[in-house]
Symmetry: C2
Subunit: 308 residues, 2 copies
Amino acid sequence: MTDPIRIGLVGVGKIARDQHLPVIDASPDYRLVAVASRHGEHAGVPNYRTLAEMIAEQGGLQAVALCQPPQARFEAALAAIEAGLHVFLEKPPGATLAEVGLLTEAARRRGVSLFASWHSRFAPGVEPARSWLSTRRIRSVSIAWMEDVRHWHPGQDWIWEAGGMGVFDPGINALSIATHILPPFFLTGATLEVPENRQAPIAGDLRFTDAAGTPIHATFDWRQTGPQTWDIRVETEDGTLVLSKGGAVLTLDGRDQPLPPEAEYRGLYDRFAALVRSGASDVDLNPLIHAADAFLRGERRSVEAFTD
Amino acid sequence: MTDPIRIGLVGVGKIARDQHLPVIDASPDYRLVAVASRHGEHAGVPNYRTLAEMIAEQGGLQAVALCQPPQARFEAALAAIEAGLHVFLEKPPGATLAEVGLLTEAARRRGVSLFASWHSRFAPGVEPARSWLSTRRIRSVSIAWMEDVRHWHPGQDWIWEAGGMGVFDPGINALSIATHILPPFFLTGATLEVPENRQAPIAGDLRFTDAAGTPIHATFDWRQTGPQTWDIRVETEDGTLVLSKGGAVLTLDGRDQPLPPEAEYRGLYDRFAALVRSGASDVDLNPLIHAADAFLRGERRSVEAFTD
């Protein structure tokens, strides 16, 4: 049994409270030593306003989990790396591709572990889906990621600003699964629907293909009320695979497959502990590359204003 | 003396006629064996409608230069690679980052050379600038890339469509130089001005920084009449470097440096020949990464309609 990793968390918002802090508390691999946040608080450990204060006062700190919005994450990540700390990045790993490239190189030089986390890849159906697809010829793929932004992101203004990515904030979860279970693909066209009073899209219709010409279609929509949809359907020459509920349910030709219970963030923190202990990094930019490609290549349409 | 490389060219438009065809004709490293184009023609060699026809009828073909708009380039590039041809890509190397990643992997597997060309890197002042800056501490960088789109891209509708990149078509030349002569940097914010009747920006104001916090500012504008501006100004602790006329003129503290005459495309084709003969590829995505980051992270403002 090795000593727990002394970790600090930066950015006490919804995702930190819902997922990171309970998982860190429950894991024998970690001991939470402090948090830093401009707005949020967390009982039982020292609370700082900034990461710089946390680093200055917590001499034994070994790692940090960065949970603030992507637009504000680079400076903290670089400061942490330069202080010799291992860094866990919430998704997306940055507001730009170039900054994540720079962090990756900085972590390599400083000899610390950098982990760009994609929590949906740790949904229970994802690895079985990847394994099943790896030996089959794919005919077509259809992705539907449709949810109610008012329910999941109440009052989160940053998500609508430039760099907040809008509906790609959940959509990148679908892309993180798709890039993990499918052969490499790329965008051929997209339509992004942007509320006239916002910078980021509320919906996206994305067409991709791969080297074999497979049609891959994705619909992202944040205006879905009632039942929520997070489905990836893959037609193969050998039957149909459906990952639903964001990867928590897997069916093969309509038959439910037995899966362990959902434990995405536990999976992420297990992976981060393994990276730290082996001195490795894991930074896969592909989901963010597809999002950037959609902004670069996609056609924009102005739609009805969105107010929270 | 090795035999000349038997090359075909696809996409006989303005850039092919102005640059590629004269340079291929004048170079001892190449023999032009055919062209393929939907609209253009070229005298003295067989003309085909499509790359597929060219490949089918020209058994001795060894390489192709792809000069069509980026939105249409992937399919041709993949077909050429799979036919065992070396591929020269005009800039930008694709309409998306993901497709260029896929081509890079396909070329590696097939054992052919892939060259993502960035012609401005072969402007005569660029290598001297890179060398001078490599030993100096940089204080700030200012990039101004301002030209008259009506003069340089008359009636080129594809450039205004989604994926055509608008003012980033010339702007990516500035980014290709900046990424070559400066330490790694990333975008912190941008404003893109998009004509209300177009998809692509006519102007951009871009703020970047690097790991040292250096301010790097770029202005791209396609509405410049009169004198045209393609300048990169770098203030260092040790004097001021100015690359102007797109890299054709270099001054250090106001003193003009002696440079050879402009020969960007000759430089590109020399490089491609060297890659083909050594079995190597050269695909640097950084300029396109910065463009994609600007679309992903930048704020859009609607401006006056643009008509040609």
